[in-house]
Amino acid sequence: MKISDRLMGCFLLLFATAVLIQASSFPTIPGQSIGSGLLPSIVAVGLMICALILIAKDLMGTPRPKLIEAGAWITDPRRILRVAIVLLGTASFIPFLDVIGFPVLSIAVLLAFLLALRVNVMTSVLVSVAASLAIHTLFSKVFLVPLPWGLLQSIAW
C-alpha cells in the first residue's frame, strides 16, 4: 500500500496537532514550569516540522506520484480474503479469547488462514489442530502462561 508523502505528511500533521492539543492540558510538576506535556509536545512539534518537509519535497518533485496506490493485491479477491483473515483473525482474539478460549479460537483462525492459502483440507485440519494443541500445552504447562480455556474449561487438563 503506497501512500504518497504528501498524504502521509497531512496525516502526520493532523496527528501531531492532536497530540499537541492534548499535551498542553497535561499538568506540570510542582515547582517546575515543565511537566508531563514536555516530551509529547517536543515530539509533536518535531513531527510537524518533518511532515511539512515531507509534503514540500513531494510537491516539488516531478513527476508527482499518485496520492494513494493500494497495490496489485486489491484486485484479487483471494488475496483480499487472506489479508482480511490475518487482520480479523488476530483482532478476534482480543474480544473473544477469554470467552471462546485459546484452543477453539486458534484452531478456527489457523484453519481459515491455511484454507485461504489453498492448503488441502486434510493437511489444514491436521496442522491447525496439532499446532494449536501443541502450542497451548507448551505455553500453559511448561511456560505457565495462563492461556484461557474458554468453552473447553470443563475439559481443561
Partner: protein, 500 residues
C-alpha cells in the same frame, strides 16, 4: 591463585556441568520461541534452584540466559522476529542474509561474535569487577540522560534512506513511549480511561508486531505461495568464520568493550549496548552503505556487544547488589536465598564461589559454540517447511508470544496495531528500527531529564556541571554538530583554494 584453582574444581564437578548443560538446552529452547524472553527463562528456573547448591543455581541462570539471548537471533534471522530489543539493532542484516540463502552464515556470525563478546565480557568481569562497579556509581540521572541522548543519536546513524523519514520513525517511537502513567508526575497520558494503556506499550509485542506481523501481511498480499519461506541455504555455520573474525577484529573488540561498559550501567544498559556498537561499527566502516543489507560487520559488532553486556550487568549486581535488569534482579534473589549477600565482601568471604560463578560464564560461552551449532542446524527444518504451512503457525506464535508478555490480550492488541503501523511505514520507505529504539529509550530520556531539572531547580547548568556528565554531554553535542563542522571546514578550505 588458590581461589581460581578452587573455583575450577568446583565448576568441574560433573553435577554442576550437568546442570549447566540442562539449563543451556532449556535456554536455547525458550530463546528460539518468538516472544519468550530470557527473563522468562530465568523466572521459570527459580523454583528449580530451590533444590540446588548456590553454584549450580547461579550457573543454571547464567547459562540459560546466555543461550536464550543467542537463540533469540534464530527467529530474528529466519523469520525477522528479534528476540530482544538489543537484537532488533541487527535483525535486518541477519534477515537479508537469510533471504540470500545465507541463513547459516548469518547465524554463524551471530554465534561466533556472541561467544567472542561473552568471553571478553567474562574476562573483564573476572579481572576488574570491583573497580568497574565504582564506575557505575559515577552515574546519576544527568549521566543517564546523556546516555539516552547518545542512544538516540545512534538511530540517526543506523537508519537508512531518507533522514526525514528516519526522524519521523524515531518520533513515533518516542510518542508511543509516552503512553501510560508518567513516573515523574504520576499522571496517565493518552490512556483514555483504559487500565491496560496505563501500563504503557511494552516493546516485545511492539517488536513482534512491527517486524513479524509486517512480514505476515506482506506474505498474505503476495501472489504466489508455492515457494518455501526462504531460499534454499547454501552456507554452513562455521564456514569462513575464521576469516570473518580476522576481518572484523576491530568490530568484535569494540563491540565487546562497548557491550561490557554500557552493560555495567544499571537500567537500560544492556538494551542499548548493541545499538551503540552497531552505530560505532557503521561510523568507522569503509562501507557504511552496506549496513542493513545483510552485511557482516554490524552483525559482528552488535552480536558481540549483546553477549558482552550480559557479563557487564552482573558487575553492579554482585558488587553492590544493584540489579541492572530483571534477570539479575531474580538472580540476586536466588543468591540471598542461598545465604549469600551481594557486596564487595563476596570477593573476600566467598571468593571461591564468586570466581566459580565467573568461571561458569566461560563454560557457558564455550558450550554455546557447540549447542548453538546444533540449534542452527535444527532450525534449518523451519526454512525447509513450505511457507504456506509455516506462516499461519508463525502468526499463532506471534499472538501467544505477545500474550505471554502482558498475560492478557492487550499484548495481542499492541502487536496488531503496531503491525499495521509498521507495515504502512515499511511500504512507504520509513525504517522501523528507530521506532523500536524510541520506545526503548523514551522513558529513560524523559525520566532522567525531568529528575535532573528538579534537582537543578530548572537550570540547564545542571546538565554539564558534573565531570562524567560534562564529558558525555560534550561528546553528544559533538556527534550532532560534527557533520556540520566538517561541511564548514570543507567549504572554507575550498574557498581558500579558490582564493589562492
Amino acid at each position: 591463585m588458590d581461589h581460581i584453582f578452587n573455583a575450577l574444581m568446583m565448576v568441574a564437578d560433573p553435577a554442576v556441568l550437568g546442570i549447566i548443560l540442562g539449563a543451556s538446552v532449556f535456554g536455547l529452547f525458550i530463546g528460539a520461541i518468538p516472544g519468550l524472553s530470557a527473563t522468562m527463562a530465568t523466572a521459570l528456573l527459580v523454583p528449580l534452584t530451590f533444590f540446588m547448591d548456590p553454584l549450580p543455581a547461579i550457573a543454571a541462570i547464567v547459562s540459560a540466559v546466555a543461550m536464550a539471548i543467542f537463540a533469540g537471533d534464530i527467529p530474528g534471522a529466519m523469520l525477522r522476529i528479534p528476540g530482544t530489543p538489543a537484537s532488533a539493532a541487527y535483525v535486518d542484516d541477519a534477515y537479508q542474509m537469510t533471504s540470500r540463502g545465507q541463513a547459516e552464515r548469518a547465524l554463524g556470525i551471530g554465534l561466533v561474535s556472541s561467544v567472542f563478546g561473552g568471553i571478553v565480557g567474562a574476562i573483564i568481569l573476572t579481572t576488574c569487577a570491583p573497580y568497574l562497579a565504582e564506575f557505575a556509581f559515577q552515574f546519576s540521572t544527568v549521566e543517564y540522560f546523556w546516555l539516552a541522548v547518545l542512544g538516540l543519536s545512534c538511530s540517526v546513524i543506523i537508519s537508512r534512506g531518507s533522514p526525514v523519514k528516519g526522524l519521523i520513525a524515531l518520533l513515533i517511537g518516542l510518542f508511543i513511549s509516552t503512553i501510560g502513567i508518567d513516573v515523574t508526575a504520576g499522571f496517565p497520558r493518552f490512556t483514555y480511561g483504559s487500565v491496560d494503556l496505563m501500563g504503557g506499550v511494552s516493546f516485545i509485542p511492539a517488536m513482534i508486531g512491527m517486524f513479524a506481523m509486517t512480514e505476515i501481511l506482506r506474505f498474505a498480499m503476495a501472489a504466489s505461495h508455492d515457494t518455501s519461506s526462504v531460499p534454499k541455504s547454501n552456507s554452513t555455520v562455521y564456514g569462513g568464520q575464521w576469516k570473518m573474525v580476522r576481518e572484523n577484529k576491530g568490530n568484535l573488540a569494540s563491540g565487546s568493550l562497548i557491550g561490557t561498559v554500557i552493560g555495567i550501567l544499571p537500567g537500560a544498559g544492556s538494551d542499548i549496548a548493541a545499538w551503540v556498537a552497531y552505530a560505532v561499527a557503521k561510523k568507522f566502516s569503509r562501507t557504511p552503505e552496506k549496513f542493513g543489507t545483510g552485511h557482516p560487520e554490524g552483525l559482528a559488532a552488535a552480536g558481540a556487544a549483546n553477549n558482552a553486556s550480559l557479563s557487564g550487568v552482573w558487575i553492579p549486581a554482585l558488587v553492590f547488589g544493584i540489579p541492572g535488569d530483571s534477570i539479575t534482579a531474580i538472580a540476586i534473589g536466588v543468591l540471598f536465598m542461598k545465604g549469600i549477600t551481594p557486596g564487595p565482601m563476596v570477593f573476600v568471604q566467598q571468593a571461591d564461589l564468586t570466581y566459580a560463578i565467573f568461571m561458569t560464564f566461560f563454560v557457558a560461552n564455550l558450550l554455546l559454540l557447540v549447542l548453538g551449532y546444533f540449534a542452527i542446524r535444527g532450525a534449518r527444518f523451519v526454512v525447509r517447511t513450505p511457507a504456506k504451512l509455516l506462516m499461519p503457525v508463525i502468526l499463532l506464535f506471534c499472538m501467544v508470544g505477545s500474550f505471554a508478555i502482558t498475560n492478557s490480550v492487550f499484548g495481542i492488541a499492541v502487536m496488531l496495531a503496531l503491525g499495521i503501523i509498521g507495515f504502512l511505514m515499511e511500504e512507504n520507505g520509513f525504517p522501523i528500527a528507530p521506532t523500536i529504539l524510541g520506545i526503548v529509550i523514551g522513558p529513560m530520556l524523559e525520566d532522567n531529564f525531568m529528575a535532573t531539572m528538579i534537582k537543578s531547580d530548572g537550570s540547564i547548568v545542571g546538565f554539564f556541571d558534573r565531570p562524567v556528565a560534562g564529558t558525555l554531554g560534550a561528546f553528544t553535542v559533538l556527534i550532532w554538530t560534527l557533520p556540520l563542522i566538517m561541511l564548514l571546514v570543507r567549504r572554507l578550505t575550498r574557498q581558500s583554494k579558490v582564493g589562492a
